[in-house]
Symmetry: C2
Subunit: 132 residues, 2 copies
């Protein structure tokens, strides 16, 4: 469910945040669904509970989840519309990367094709290693 790259420049907690956001946005994780506890997930991923907590705290501050002391952490009912910020961010990164791609001689058609493929993959259904 989570592919963590401990050697990445991107911190583990940040990878977790992004991955969970993705699962929430795509409704793989549904509203009010309970997330694994800090300790459980830490044990599963063999990382420190503090790292999980940091990720959860970040997600809560952004409105993607809510936590209840003594009960657990749950997916927010309403996906936050902080997406607009996120969209801007992605667009900016995308611009840079696309520039680089074109500089490197990747053609527009190749880019179009890439988009088509990705869209097909998404539209065709997202597969996960989850329980049925």
């Amino acid at each position: 469910m989570f592919e963590l790259d401990v050697r990445s420049r991107k911190p583990i907690y940040e990878q977790l945040v992004e991955r969970l956001k993705e699962l929430i946005i795509t409704e793989v994780l549904t509203a009010d669904e309970q997330l694994p506890s800090v300790r459980t997930l830490a044990h599963q991923l063999t990382i420190n509970p503090n790292t999980i907590q940091k990720a959860y705290r970040e997600l809560e501050s952004q409105g993607y989840i809510y936590s209840i002391k003594g009960k657990g952490s749950f997916v927010s009912a309403a996906t936050p519309n902080l997406n607009s910020e996120k969209i801007e961010k992605v667009k900016n990164e995308l611009s840079k990367l696309l520039s680089e791609a074109l500089y490197l001689g990747i053609t527009k058609n190749e880019l179009y094709k890439l988009i088509q493929e990705i869209e097909a993959a998404i539209g065709g259904g997202i597969e996960d290693d989850q329980n049925p």
Copy 2:
């Protein structure tokens, strides 16, 4: 000529490497052209000479420039065809980012438009803060 973001997660030397590569690939810097000396550039950018050296060393190891002790650093005559590696890397990053974009609801048309704009900007001539 160089826009450095010291607050970025990306190290300064790495930003330098990328920027210089871009300038070399796009032939803004031409073959055998002499680059600013380590000390000069460091002074211009108000960063440490060691940081420049690190960038130059990296560029040299990748074949983009060559350095001669006592003379200076120069743009390689033949652009290395390590580009194929680079292209693969960019494509991979691009795939991830495009997935995210589509997940976030950015439409294909928006992406196409983005590509058009960037291509126009590049095709229209790259402007730099250089001496005439």
